[in-house]
């Protein structure tokens, strides 16, 4: 008996060794990262970046985040999604003398998310160009190159971004209070969808281009119940439980709430327990009764979204990652699933804005070539189209619609392409304690384990406890 067991053990070890050595060498083919909270959109540039005989050469390392490493398959349509090496190929066709090396990492989360990875790469000076949502923090700490001189000395450079997109990335740095830290690379927005077929069956007027809370409340209420035509249970409203915080911010901002501010020393003041937030939370809790049961555990769109089985009339917080590729592939879909702008506050702004820029490391040894790479990534139609093809990202630059005709043809191209111009300024706390505290509070209020007032007080208390431990960013 003993020898049998020993035999099995030796066998198991041998097997694992044999199997290990037989495994093919690393055909890395990672997934399309579907980031539900941060869906990036991109602006399309109609600028011709001259590719004739580039004067510079050398190797440029680039950090990108969340692109598919290799060609992959869209889980719904079955279509091909181009891998990152296609971007490299495109670049090297345009600039044969520059060797662009892309490091592509997943967004991830926590200790192994892109944040700590970016930190270690920039400290080890591993790359020149970074896709960098946190460009301000790195600029403050002296890690980034001020782009102003590069822009001033480059006649081919043009501010092709609408409004104040470029100015959004100016910030304080050691020795110079006003620097251009980054160029806009891709942006994000969230829109409101509604199901035109359900609206018609219920005899309800379609949503207006800029819906208000009252309009949504009234129509959602009217369409919750048994559908007079199909006899199915319908719901007026929807919320994405696990990411409810973003929807809540849009509602609160529409009621005049602002989260707080960034202080001069880089710390934040955050106010969750204001009357506006309370009103917003009470409204959201009230509206949750018009949503399908179980929405609190939902991570995405309601089931049946973009199919004939849809039973939810108004679906807020539509993200490009969910709707854009299906709309483009099947134009009939966006006749049924219509799109409006997100809610707007008294300042005319509203909805989550996430714009990921690219920045250049101050330590970059090959800045001339890096600058060419940077311009190509942010301004070239090829690079912008790659963002659209690889992640369903949406270009929103002036003239973007003409650049990608499929987009201009969309029924609600106006709202889809321009929502970004109305979005709220980015939230610096988007991935830290104030968000987690508020998220838990909203969940508790909707589930009824706390009153909205208690929930906001709790979120405020937790946030302040955390803020008290934060110290002003050290300035080198």
């Amino acid at each position: 008996m003993k020898s049998q067991i020993r035999g099995a053990f030796v066998w198991a070890v041998l097997c694992s060794i044999v199997l290990a050595s037989c495994a093919p060498s690393a055909p890395a083919t990672p997934q399309t990262v579907v980031e539900t909270q941060i869906i990036v959109q991109t602006q399309q540039v109609e600028v011709l970046v001259t590719a004739e005989a580039p004067p510079v050469s050398g190797e440029v390392n680039v950090l990108l985040i969340g692109k598919p490493d290799e060609d992959s398959i869209d889980p719904v349509t079955g279509k091909n999604i181009p891998g990152i090496q296609q971007l490299e190929t495109m670049f090297e066709t345009a600039y044969p003398s520059i060797d662009m090396q892309i490091t592509n990492i997943p967004w991830g989360s926590g200790a192994t998310g892109y944040g700590p990875k970016t930190e270690s790469m920039i400290q080890a000076q591993e790359a020149c160009i970074y896709l960098m949502p946190g460009a301000f923090q790195y600029g403050r700490r002296g890690y980034l190159e001020n782009l102003d001189p590069w822009i001033a000395n480059d006649p081919t450079f043009e501010d092709v971004w609408p409004g104040d997109y470029l100015e959004q990335w100016r910030g304080w740095g050691p020795g110079n209070p006003d620097n251009q830290w980054a160029l806009p690379y891709s942006g994000g927005n969230r829109v409101i969808h509604y199901d035109a077929v359900l609206f018609e069956q219920w005899g309800v007027e379609p949503l207006s281009q800029h819906p208000t809370l009252d309009e949504i409340e009234e129509k959602a209420k009217a369409m919750t119940g048994i559908n007079p035509v199909t006899g199915e249970q319908n719901y007026g409203y929807w919320y994405q439980g696990k990411y409810i915080n973003w929807q809540f911010q849009a509602i609160a901002h529409a009621l005049g709430a602002t989260w707080g501010e960034v202080n001069d020393d880089g710390t934040w003041t955050v106010n969750w327990d204001t009357p506006e937030y309370l009103q917003a939370l009470e409204w959201l809790v009230m509206m949750s009764q018009y949503a399908p049961p179980g929405a609190l555990a939902a991570e995405a769109m309601p089931e049946g979204f973009l199919t004939d089985q849809n039973v939810v009339a108004i679906i807020p917080e539509g993200e490009t990652g969910y709707y854009l590729t299906p709309f483009v592939n099947d134009p009939k879909l966006n006749e049924r699933f219509r799109t409006t702008y997100n809610l707007q506050g008294p300042d005319g702004k509203g909805g989550l804005f996430i714009a990921d820029p690219v920045a250049m490391a101050a330590s970059c040894p090959n800045k001339e070539a890096a600058w060419e790479v940077m311009k190509w990534l942010t301004m070239s139609p090829e690079s912008q189209k790659y963002n659209f093809d690889s992640g369903g990202n949406l270009p929103v630059i002036d003239g973007a619609a003409e650049a990608i005709p499929e987009l201009a043809a969309l029924v609600d191209a106006d709202a889809i392409l321009n929502q970004n111009a109305f979005a709220e300024i980015r939230y610096p706390w988007a991935s830290s304690q104030p968000r987690f505290s508020l998220q838990a509070a909203i969940e508790a209020a909707i589930a009824g384990t706390m009153t909205p007032k208690q929930a906001l007080e709790q979120a405020q208390k937790e946030t302040e406890d955390w803020l008290a431990q934060q110290v002003a960013t050290p300035t080198p």
Binding site: A111, L296, S432, Q433, F436, A440, E443, A444, A447, W466
Partner: protein
């Protein structure tokens, strides 16, 4: 003396690698956790702050809720799994048809990774079309329970769902250990009971149950300690915050979130120290019976 030391030398060589690794990965990190818990990072320097973080934790509703939640989920789980495992093991022990086949089937979830099982169960408990609610709908249950979308303390809420998951996973293991215990009950005891004219149920209640005390104690202790460090399945289902409304957040999840999402390593370390103390107390209370069991298993193996 020198000769004696030289003779001992080989033994130190045998012991050294293990203890070097212990120093690096057990002793140092444990002491460092304690040290961090009394410090505060101020501009990349660590400053001594005494018991500040412990005071912060005591007034911290999130931490206290996680602590209570961990205990609640652990107790609920043990209250179900121990009797259920024992009854099922007793039944299986008496079954003559395919006992090994059943043993293997019941053990399947246990060898499947917690992550995979939790992922599957996030769909099993989906409120609209999940396996459980789909079957309940066929049975005409109305309204359908919300499971993972219901953070309140109700019979069909998120805590119930994860307890069902944990019982489903662990049943095979508990049955296995109980069966080992059952087979170790001396046959003479049963013979005596038969002579006294006891029926099968009486024998089970009066002879088997008391003889199984060491097994119960062992499963209770290991079960409690394991419950205190629960993480993977709940993290899969509710993220580090244990959504919805933190109803699934355990201490380890709180430590993880505080350290790696809020970047407060010092506060997280003091929570880790509290976890350590709790586990230590639980272990100490029953350490003797634990060791006894280990010694007896060695002679039985």
């Amino acid at each position: 003396m020198v000769r004696k030391l030289r003779k001992s030398l080989i033994w130190y060589v045998f012991v050294a690698p293990t203890f070097i690794l212990f120093g690096l990965f057990v002793a140092y990190p444990t002491l460092e956790t304690f040290r961090l818990s009394f410090f505060q990072e101020v501009a990349t320097r660590q400053e001594f702050v005494g018991a500040l973080h412990y005071l912060r934790l005591l007034g911290n509703q999130v931490f206290l809720a996680a602590l209570v939640n961990t205990a609640f989920l652990g107790i609920l789980f043990l209250l179900i799994i121990i009797p259920l495992g024992f009854v099922m093991a007793s039944l299986l022990n008496n079954l003559r048809v395919w006992p090994n086949l059943f043993k293997a089937i019941y053990f399947l979830p246990q060898i499947t990774s917690t992550v995979a099982v939790a992922l599957v169960f996030s769909y099993v408990f989906q409120p609209n079309w999940g396996l459980v609610n789909g079957l309940l709908r066929q049975l005409g249950v109305e309204p359908l329970p919300l499971w993972l979308a219901e953070p309140r303390y109700v019979l069909t809420g998120s805590r119930a769902a994860v307890t069902i998951l944990a019982v489903w996973v662990a049943l095979g293991y508990y049955m296995l250990i109980f069966q080992a215990g059952l087979q170790a009950v001396p046959a003479e005891l049963y013979d005596a009971a038969v002579v006294d004219g006891a029926g099968p149920l009486q024998t089970w209640w009066l002879i088997t149950l008391p003889s199984m005390r060491p097994t119960f104690v062992f499963l209770y202790i290991t079960g409690t300690i394991e419950a205190m460090s629960r993480f993977s399945d709940l993290w899969m289902l509710g993220g580090p915050a244990g959504t919805p409304a933190r109803s699934l957040q355990t201490i380890v999840m709180y430590i993880y979130q505080t350290a790696f999402e809020s970047n407060d390593f010092n506060l997280a370390s003091s929570a880790a120290v509290i976890l350590f103390v709790v586990v230590l107390l639980l272990t100490m209370i029953n350490f003797r019976s634990f060791l006894q069991r280990e010694f007896s298993s060695q002679s039985g193996g």
